[in-house]
Symmetry: C2
C-alpha cells in the first residue's frame, strides 16, 4: 500500500504540471517504479525515414553511440510499431515478430542492458508522433505481473509528461498562428482549392464569379503570408484551418 501511495503521489505531481524537465521526470519514474531505463522520442515521418524532433533517455552516451554507429534505427521494430500505431508495444513481442531485429537485442545484451520493456505510443497534433520506452530489469514472468499492475500508471505518466513537453514546445510556434483567421468564404474557397478544383470550378460550385474566387484566394495568401495557392493549402492543412474532405 506504500508503493500504491507513492505511485498516486507521483501521478499527482505530474498532473499539476510540476515536472517539465525530462531528467527530472526520468528520476521520478525510476524512483517510483522498478524501471531500469527510459527513453522519450518525438519525431515526424520524412520519406520513409524519421526526423527526430526531441530525444531524451537514460541509456547513456555509450549505448547511444552503439545504436547510432550500427544504424540500429533501421531495424528497430519498436520505433516502427510505436510511432506507427496506437497501442503499447511489448519488446519481447516485437523481438519475436521481427527476427531481423536480433542485432538490436544482441547489442543490448552486449553492453549489459535488459531486453524487457514496453513502449507507449503518444500521438501528437500535426501528424507528429512520440513514444515513451520503458526498460525494466527483471525476469520475464515477474515483468508480466508487474506490467499488468502498472501499465495504467505508465500510460498516465507518459501522457502527462508528453502533455508537459507539448505545452512547453508549442510556445514558440503559437504566435504566428494568431493572425491566421480566415473568413468563412476564404475557408470555403481554400478547401475547394485543396480538393484540386480550379477557380472556374469553385466559382461554379459556390455560385459566384471566378473573379470573386480569386479575390478570396488573394486575401487568403496575404493573410497566411504565402506566395502561392499551393503553399497556402500546405499551411492551412498543417494548422488545421480547413477540414479533411
Amino acid at each position: 500500500m506504500t508503493e500504491q501511495q507513492a505511485v498516486l503521489d507521483m501521478l499527482e505531481i505530474l498532473e499539476c504540471g510540476g515536472c517539465v524537465e525530462p531528467a527530472h521526470f526520468f528520476t521520478l519514474m525510476r524512483r517510483t517504479f522498478r524501471i531500469a531505463h527510459l527513453l522519450y522520442l518525438e519525431a515526424e515521418p520524412y520519406a520513409d525515414e524519421l526526423k527526430v524532433c526531441r530525444l531524451h533517455h537514460t541509456f547513456g552516451a555509450y549505448a547511444a553511440e552503439i545504436y547510432r554507429a550500427r544504424a540500429l534505427h533501421r531495424i528497430d521494430p519498436i520505433l516502427k510499431l510505436a510511432l506507427g500505431g496506437v497501442r503499447p508495444v511489448e519488446w519481447t513481442m516485437a523481438r519475436h515478430r521481427f527476427p531481423e531485429c536480433e542485432p538490436l537485442f544482441e547489442a543490448a545484451q552486449e553492453i549489459g542492458l535488459s531486453t524487457e520493456g514496453v513502449a507507449l505510443p503518444l500521438p501528437s497534433p500535426a501528424g507528429r508522433m512520440a513514444l515513451l520506452a520503458i526498460n525494466v530489469n527483471m525476469p520475464a514472468d515477474e515483468w508480466s505481473t508487474y506490467r499488468r499492475h502498472h501499465l495504467r500508471d505508465f500510460q498516465l505518466a507518459a501522457n502527462l509528461f508528453h502533455a508537459a513537453m507539448l505545452e512547453h514546445g508549442a510556445m514558440a510556434g503559437a504566435l504566428s498562428v494568431r493572425d491566421m483567421r480566415l473568413t468563412s468564404r476564404e475557408t470555403e474557397v481554400l478547401t475547394w482549392a485543396a480538393a484540386g478544383k480550379s477557380y472556374w470550378e469553385i466559382a461554379t460550385i459556390l455560385g459566384i464569379s471566378e473573379r470573386t474566387v480569386r479575390f478570396f484566394m488573394t486575401n487568403t495568401r496575404r493573410k497566411l503570408n504565402v506566395v502561392s495557392n499551393t503553399q497556402a493549402v500546405a499551411q492551412a492543412v498543417r494548422h488545421a484551418l480547413i477540414p479533411t474532405v
Copy 2:
C-alpha cells in the same frame, strides 16, 4: 482487492482488442467503475467550429436533444479544453473558470444529470482530436478520492478504446495510402512546392532542369491520384508524406 482485480481484468480485455463496439465498451466501463455516463467524441476543427466525425454516448436521446436545441456546444468549455489541450479536464474546474457556461450545467441538473466528471483528451493522427468524457454521480469529496485512484485506469482504458476506434476506422482509408510511396526526389520536389517555390526555383535549388522538376511533380500527381500540385500538397501534408518545414 476484488475491485482492483476487476479493473485489471477489464484493462486486459481492452488491450487484447476485445472491445471495438462503443456500446460494449461503455457497458464494460460502467460495470467496472462507478460511472454514471460516458461520451466519446472524435472531431476535427473547421473554421472556429467543429466537424464531428464520431459520437457515441450514454446520455440518451433527450439529453442530446436538449444539448442540440439550446446550442450548448457553443459554450461548452469541456469541448474547447479537451479538444484543444492534452491534459484531463475536470468538469467543476471548467465550470468555475468559465462562468458563461452555466446554462450547460443548469440544463444537466434540470434533466437529473450529475455535474461531476472528467474529460480525457485523446490526440489522433492528422490533426484530429477526440475525447472521452466520464460522468459520475457522487459527492465532490468522494469523487476527488475516487478520481485520484482511478484516473490512471480511465486514461489507459480511454487510450485503448480510442486505439481500437482508430484501427477500425482507418481500415477504409488505409488501402489508398498503400501506393502513396513517393521516391526521395518526388518528396523533395513536393516539399519545395509546399514551401511555395516555383518549378524554376526548385530546379535551381536542386541543380536539375525545370523539365525534370515537372516530371517528378507529374509522377507525384499520378501516384497520389490528384489533378493539381495544390491538391497533391494537401494530400501529402495530411498523410505526413512531407516534413513540416
